[in-house]
C-alpha cells in the first residue's frame, strides 16, 4: 500500500471547553481527521509560547490552540490573556518567515462538538497545503522528536 504523507498536528485544548468539545465530538460519533495529538491544558492562557515553538522545532507540522469563547473562561480572563499572546506570536512568526498557518487558534465550547471537528478539518487542510514543516525543524539531534529516517514516536 502506498504511504501518503499525513501532517502531524499538536492540539492544546483547554480543559473546560475545547477538551470537552472534543469529547463531545467523540461521543456524538462526529468524524474528524486523526492527525491531531491532543494535550490537555488547564486554560488557553496557560500556553507558553515556548510550547508552540518547541513543538514546531520538534518536527510538528502544525499547532492548534483552542480555548473557551471570550467571556466563558473558567478562570475569568485566561483566554483574553492567551489571545494577546497568540496574536503577537503569530504575527512574529510570520514576520520571521515561518508560515502563519502552522500556528492556529480557535474558540470551541464544550457544546460545540461539530465545530471542533470542523476546526480540525480546516487546520488539517491548511497544513496539507503547506506540506511538511521544513523551516526551524531540528534535524541533526537523534534525541529530539521527528528525526529523519527514524520513526516518530508520538
Amino acid at each position: 500500500m502506498e504511504k501518503t504523507w499525513e501532517p502531524k498536528i499538536l492540539a492544546f485544548l483547554c480543559n473546560w471547553c475545547s477538551y470537552a468539545g472534543a469529547d463531545l465530538a467523540g461521543t456524538s460519533r462526529i468524524q474528524y481527521p486523526p492527525n491531531i495529538r491532543v494535550i490537555r491544558v488547564p486554560c488557553s492562557g496557560r500556553i507558553n509560547p515556548l510550547f508552540i515553538l518547541k513543538a514546531l522545532q520538534s518536527g510538528i507540522d502544525g499547532v492548534l490552540v483552542s480555548g473557551c469563547h471570550p467571556g466563558d473562561c473558567h478562570y475569568i480572563s485566561g483566554n483574553y490573556i492567551g489571545r494577546r499572546k497568540s496574536a503577537t506570536l503569530k504575527r512574529f512568526l510570520e514576520y520571521l518567515g515561518i508560515e502563519g498557518e502552522r500556528v492556529q487558534f480557535s474558540w470551541v465550547s464544550a457544546a460545540e462538538g461539530g465545530k471542533f471537528s470542523q476546526v480540525v478539518g480546516e487546520v488539517v487542510q491548511d497544513i496539507k497545503k503547506l506540506g511538511s514543516a521544513k523551516r526551524f525543524v531540528k534535524k541533526e539531534n537523534s534525541r529530539s522528536l521527528g528525526v529523519e529516517g527514524q520513526e516518530k514516536t508520538f
Binding site: Q57, R84, S86, T88, R91, S106, F136
Partner: protein, 320 residues
C-alpha cells in the same frame, strides 16, 4: 555638539557631586573614560571626589538600567538617556525596585555614534577618536579623518522618537526635538516586503552566526530572570549544542520575551560580538504592540504592559 556634550558633562558631575555629598544616594552609575577609542565604560562612583571621572559624549551607548538589578539594596543615582529612562519605567511597572530608590539624572540624547560604522569607514586601526563640532575625528598611526557624525549613528538611534528622558528627577541639558531621523523603520518596511522564504533565509543566516555568548541577554535591562529559559534544565527548552535550529529558537524567544517591554535602546545589537542584527526583531514587536494594543514601552507609568493585561475588544480575526 561638542560644546553641548561638555556642558552636559559638567552638569552631570555637579549633580552627582551634590547627590553624593548630601548622601542622597549610595552610588552614581554613569559613563567613564575607557582605554579603547570610540568607547566608554559604565562606572560606579561612591564618593564626591570621584565625580570627575564621569563623562558625556557620543559614545555613551550602554543602557545603564541593566545595572540596577545588581544594586537592589542601594539608593542609586543613574545617568539615563531617553531609551534608558523608558527601560526604567518598564522595569518599575514590573516592580523591580522601590520608587524612592532611584534618582535619575536625565540627559537629552544626541543619538549615539556607531563605533562599528566608524571603524569600517577608515583603513587601519583607530588609536584616538574625539568629537569636534558635528564631526568625529579619528586618528590612527598614519591617518586623520573627519567624519560627519550624522552618517554614523546607530540604527536604533536613527528611528528614536523619545530622546529626552521623561519622568526623571533632574534633567541636565535642554530637551531635544522629538522627531526621528528616518520617518518609519525603513529596514523593517523593506524586510516585510520580501517573501517568507527570503525572510527566513535572512533570519537563518543571521542566527547561524550566533556563538551563544548570551551577551545580548546580559546587556538587556529587561532580561533579569533568575533562570533564563536557555539555562533551565527542567524543562530543557533548548539543547546546548550549536544546532542551527537551537540558535533560531534562542533568537526567536529572546526577542519574543521583549514583547511590550523593549524600549528599543539597541543594546543587544551593540553587545553582539558577531554583529548579528537583532533590533529588526524587537523593533518589529514594538510596532506590532503599538498597532494591536496601542502601547509604547516606557511612556506611561500607569499603563500595564500589553501582555500582562487584556481588553474585551482585542482583535481576534485570526481565531477560528
Amino acid at each position: 555638539m561638542e560644546e553641548r556634550s561638555k556642558a552636559i558633562q559638567d552638569r552631570i558631575r555637579d549633580k552627582a557631586k551634590e547627590l553624593l555629598s548630601k548622601k542622597a544616594v549610595d552610588l552614581i552609575i554613569g559613563f567613564g573614560e575607557w582605554t579603547l577609542p570610540l568607547r566608554t565604560t559604565p562606572i560606579f562612583i561612591r564618593s564626591p571626589e570621584g565625580v570627575d571621572r564621569l563623562i558625556w559624549n557620543s559614545f555613551c551607548e550602554n543602557n545603564l538600567a541593566t545595572y540596577l538589578h545588581k544594586f537592589a539594596q542601594f539608593k542609586v543615582g543613574l545617568v539615563v538617556k531617553g531609551c534608558d529612562a523608558r527601560s526604567i519605567i518598564a522595569l518599575s511597572l514590573e516592580k523591580r525596585f522601590k520608587p524612592d530608590q532611584l534618582f535619575l539624572i536625565g540627559v537629552p540624547c544626541q543619538r549615539m555614534v556607531d563605533r562599528r560604522k566608524v571603524k569600517r569607514a577608515v583603513k587601519g586601526e583607530i588609536l584616538r577618536a574625539y568629537e569636534q563640532g558635528d564631526q568625529i575625528i579619528v586618528e590612527g598611526e598614519d591617518f586623520k579623518k573627519a567624519l560627519d557624525r550624522n552618517n554614523f549613528l546607530y540604527p536604533s538611534c536613527q528611528v528614536c522618537t523619545h530622546r529626552t528622558p521623561s519622568q526623571v528627577n533632574a534633567l541636565v541639558g535642554d530637551p531635544v526635538e522629538e522627531s526621528p531621523l528616518t520617518e518609519t523603520h525603513p529596514e523593517i518596511m523593506e524586510f516585510e516586503k520580501e517573501s517568507p522564504e527570503e525572510r527566513w533565509r535572512f533570519f537563518e543566516k543571521e542566527s547561524s552566526r550566533c556563538i551563544r555568548c548570551y551577551a545580548c541577554r546580559e546587556v538587556c535591562p529587561m532580561c533579569y530572570c533568575n533562570e533564563c529559559f536557555v539555562d533551565s534544565s527542567n524543562p530543557k527548552w533548548i539543547d546546548k549544542g550549536p544546532s542551527p535550529s537551537d540558535l533560531e529558537f534562542y533568537h526567536i524567544v529572546r526577542a519574543y520575551h521583549q514583547t511590550g517591554r523593549c524600549s528599543g535602546c539597541g543594546a543587544c545589537e551593540r553587545a553582539c560580538p558577531m554583529e548579528i542584527r537583532l533590533t529588526y526583531l524587537t523593533q518589529k514587536l514594538n510596532l506590532d504592540v503599538k498597532e494591536l494594543f496601542d502601547f509604547e514601552t516606557g511612556i506611561d507609568k500607569e499603563t500595564l504592559p500589553p501582555l500582562s493585561t487584556y481588553e474585551m475588544e482585542d482583535k481576534q480575526e485570526f481565531i477560528k
